[in-house]
Symmetry: none
Subunit: 235 residues, 2 copies
DNA sequence: CTTTACTATACAACTATACAACTTATAATC
DNA sequence: GATTATAAGTTGTATAGTTGTATAGTAAAG
């Protein structure tokens, strides 16, 4: 019976277009006005169809900008050696990292504990966003001991890769000592950075990377947009 | 006896109004609520009268919009040289074309065969609706080889006429190589675009226009609302 | 008693219009 | 060249009006 409803027909037509890759991940759909002309209906009828697709996680919209095809959930491997770039390019996705903030300051107690440094030693904070196929998906906040890596920021700004930066600093391998995973809700700043709604579910991982002598290198937190990422564990 | 019945009297009154051109082709009637007040009856009694007029093909309705006076069947000439605008304006009717969709993509096999191009060459798809005296009557889906006419869309958006667009592109004359005519039933999207019921009969023509050197220019399909158009052949 | 014509009411689906909030592209200005 | 206004385009929201459909009820005719 649903099949006779107009909005449902439009829903099916648009869903097919996405499935047929007429609109690809990250693409903007034609505007609601264009779609309403294409289907010969009022804009609100199109919106009703779009709403279903948004609920299904196939589309998402941004006021003033457009309606965009949601990328299917990317698998992000967690384990002993987690490498961002490899994790993304592995499935032919294109990563892009942007530094949004960096600052030097004294370590907090938690940071000092995790990095096994003296309390109030100076640390470097770097906050980055990661886009996958041009869709913002990841925020990372890194705490790095400044005493050991005084030129980290300078190199990282060029390399935009922890792995490469550490190599250039003489650390050829590093592993995770632990990873905690919790769920959080996006606040307005995160929502803005991640192109998601406020209160969208985020996956937050907290971890320490250390060299092979078990000396901590970075204490970091990463937020993933739940709709776009699934974390997978391996041993 | 029938003449006593209220709904039948309303039916006759409305039919007379249409015959007397109080309501013309394409005009909206007053809403059912207004009519029910005018005749001093319940809305459903008016609807019963309207239903007969719809069955007779004199009126048609669109949910949310209103009840509209149906046009009488227009003659549309098919033959070697088919020109939409001329066909319509010939009997003092006013045509209006709207682009509802355009996209570039690879040719399907059938399209490539008909256009005599390589399979998977890029084509331009343009979908338009044609209103006659403001009543939607025609849908056309055109496939045009992009390699030969890379600026077709740009010009067509201004001209809204294939004949004019081709003239500006240096093609002063073109003819149809073949025309197939079949009957189809309107699906829900076509029904909305054409302001007709789902499963209304449509005339569908499939044809290829080619230049005088017999090189295909467009491979297209046109759907006509059966209630509003009759096709006529000439040689 | 059953059917038919008509009323009454309510809600769903869709249209029409307007405006706010926001983004993007373009032009103007420094 | 970079920054700032301006304009145009987009989604979000609200309100009102229209047809489609379902249910219940009344009165009259057979």
């Amino acid at each position: 019976m649903n099949s006779k409803l107009i909005y449902y027909q439009i829903y099916e037509a648009l869903k097919k277009d996405v499935a047929d890759n007429i609109y690809n991940s990250g693409d903007k759909l034609p505007s609601e006005n264009h779609l309403s002309k294409r289907f010969g209906v009022n804009r609100h009828t199109v919106r009703r169809a779009l709403q279903i697709l948004k609920n299904e996680g196939i589309l998402f919209s941004k006021r003033g900008s457009g309606v965009i095809v949601q990328a299917s959930k990317l698998k992000y491997k967690l384990g002993k050696r987690v490498r961002f770039s490899e994790n993304i390019t592995h499935e032919n996705n294109i990563p892009k990292i942007t530094i949004i903030r960096s600052e030097y300051r004294k370590a907090s107690k938690i940071e000092a504990d995790n990095l096994k440094i003296n309390s109030k030693d100076e640390i470097l904070l770097i906050e980055t966003t990661g886009k996958i196929n041009n869709i913002p998906t990841i925020i990372t906040k890194r705490i790095i001991p400044n005493k050991r890596f005084p030129s980290f920021l300078e190199i990282f700004q060029k390399e935009l890769s922890v792995t490469n930066t550490l190599k250039l600093l003489g650390v050829n391998d590093f592993v995770r000592s632990k990873t905690n995973i919790i769920a959080e809700l996006a606040d307005s700043i995160q929502a803005n950075l991640l192109d998601c709604k406020i209160n969208s579910p985020l996956l937050k991982t907290t971890y320490v990377n250390q060299d092979l002598n078990c000396i901590p290198i970075e204490f970091s937190q990463t937020w993933f947009v739940g709709e776009r990422i699934q974390l997978t564990l391996e041993d």
